[in-house]
Symmetry: C2
Subunit: 377 residues, 2 copies
């Protein structure tokens, strides 16, 4: 199989990641519960992972690296834990349902003033729109770093400046950026960065988290055992405990920690560079195919994603043909990005998404281009 | 190390569990996202796991087997998703903070009428108290199957009958029962059974779930991508999607599925029988040691847990001595069960918990008894 669905999950995990999970499953107890060798081993692995992840994203405070089971949970925690009844919230048409659905729910149940920055026909957001819509009443701005549909990278630094000059908290959905591009949360001015472990970071499924800038208060989400302050009726206030009730997935976190080491050894810049070359290579060939329409803006920084349609064919049928006739794995349909599909005019057709990783080869891209040509002709 | 902290997490995972996780990490895409080989492989593994888990607990509806990252999340989903403002809820003093803290929070924020059945000096709940406290106004009864502190197994079937004759929904915290004893949710009359994967079930950390009886409505918890109904602003209503936003931990679920196979092959009755023998063996020797005080009622069905104190020694010091001087891993302190410690009179001392698994040996128990004798003398 030629696997070009890395924006859904990276299928090729480095051996060191798998080895770390195996080792963890053989040696680690329950992190932060007791003080014998196995539990201390788990606690150390988890703490080391917090330190590494903080460093990886140029984030100051390892104790504010919160582990979750995926970025959806991280986003739900951030959105529900910060936004209060009646707050004004600005988000965008490029968001995934992991941002949209929590926000719609708050709109219905807590009467928040929810406003969206529209995307143009290429899925691009205008900074002028942010300037117009974000104002002093805005409590929170939530934006994805890179669209999981078009691959467009949003101008996070500039959006963050607009948020901050209006006193708003800036939450970024890093589901498609963590591990695939350099993310410096300090330089980018991100207050809460939500990420998943199993995509660009090459970690196991069941891992992810959020980085919470010092001073940002997020209400507890799950409540339960914390290993400390047992007699308090409330979840302890300190991060990370405030947001991490119950047994952590220290097996998965061990894998994620090894994955960060793997990326650090190569260098995230090099990974980003290779993915950029792969993406441009594919894009330049695909756009020349008669009947292929590509979405997104490839003149700017871009994630390793190329979404397209072939003529007016249903995206599901094209993806099935790629899978069944060519052994090429892509993802069709609506990609959990309903507003962006409407802006792109692909509500009913969906789009066929090709997404690459550091392990993707040019031979695989050539095979995909050849298949697309045959399907289009 | 002699690992006697299996109620925190089982350290010895069967090889088949580790192998299944490794295979999953090498082959599985993102479950329910697209239709190529890797994603179908993940979807099949997840579906098979639902079917196996349903069968394991004699539960009818695999689609109502919901996956979570641990039992704390499962309990938070059940408690927050069923209980509404002003509802009367009955729980018990034997509960873990993963039940207590969500309930206290609802008491503070939604003004629920929260009442507790007290435990006696042995940590036992009286059915008469349930009869007295549960009435027609009671919306929900939440009880743990076995106490993580004393190991006492509550009379779930009788409590369920009391709940149901009053029209209440019966939620059971199965953190300490799943995998360690036969759990037939139909026979026991359980409406919502919450379990974790990493304890008695021998699965990986980061797994767990809840079984939701047909007809029980639980509000969505996390909201986000569901792979279906992308254009709906709400989380889809169908189980399991309603309660499973975002990418599932299909790597962990593959391990959990293999763990269920492992247990089924031995037979859960045989596991329960062996753990009972181990527990009785340890209990009978420990109770003869001068200065050792054991908590719980060993005259009835009991989980593989023996909690005790040595004289008036701090439980943390005893546990540290066991770990440092004898290489024996136990858990001291308050065990996230604050109300029960108060009933037992061990609020400040805590208790040293020894907990066993199918893999525990009599030699290990003898070593622990010897160590206890030396510490006590």
């Amino acid at each position: 199989m030629i696997y070009l669905d890395n924006a859904a999950t990276t299928l090729h995990k480095p051996d060191v990641v798998i080895d770390a999970v195996v080792k963890a499953m053989k040696t680690q107890g329950n992190a932060s519960r007791g003080a014998h060798g196995a539990t201390l081993s788990a606690s150390r692995v988890v703490y080391d992972a917090r330190v590494k992840i903080a460093k990886f994203f140029n984030f100051d405070k390892p104790s504010n690296v919160i582990f979750t089971c995926n970025s959806t949970e991280a986003l739900n925690i951030a959105i529900n834990g910060i936004i209060k009844a009646g707050d004004k919230v600005v988000s965008t048409d490029t968001e995934h349902n992991s941002v949209l659905r929590p926000l719609y729910h708050l709109q219905k149940t807590k009467n928040i003033d929810l406003q969206f920055v529209k995307a143009d026909g290429k899925g691009v957001l205008s900074l002028d729109d942010f300037e117009r819509i974000v104002d002093k009443d805005t409590k929170v701005v939530v934006v994805n770093h890179a669209s999981n549909l078009t691959g467009n990278v949003n101008d996070i630094k500039s959006i963050g400046e607009i948020a901050h000059k209006n006193g708003a908290i800036f939450i970024v959905d890093g589901s498609q950026s963590a591990g695939t591009m350099k993310v410096d949360v300090k330089d980018l001015g991100i207050d809460v960065y939500c990420f998943t472990g199993h995509k660009g970071l090459f970690g196991p499924q069941g891992t992810g988290g959020l980085l919470v800038k010092d001073g940002i208060e997020i209400d507890a989400w799950k409540r339960g055992g914390s290993g400390v302050k047992t007699y308090s009726e409330d979840q302890p206030l300190e991060y990370p405990t405030r947001l991490e009730a119950g047994t952590l997935n220290s097996h998965g976190i061990a894998g994620l920690s090894a994955a960060i080491d793997f990326i650090d050894e190569i260098g995230v810049d090099k990974i980003e560079g290779k993915e950029k070359e792969l993406t441009e290579y594919f894009y330049n060939k695909a756009k020349e195919i008669n009947g292929v329409k590509i979405y997104g803006d490839f003149s700017k920084q871009h994630a390793a994603i190329v979404s397209l349609n072939v003529k007016d064919y249903d995206s599901g049928e094209v993806s099935d043909a790629l899978s069944n006739d060519y052994g090429i794995a892509t993802r069709p349909g609506a990609h959990c990005a309903p507003r962006l599909h409407i802006d792109l005019g692909t509500k009913y057709q969906g789009a066929v998404r090709f997404s690459f990783s550091y392990f993707t080869t040019y031979e695989e891209l050539d095979a995909a281009i050849k298949a697309l040509k045959e399907i289009a002709s």
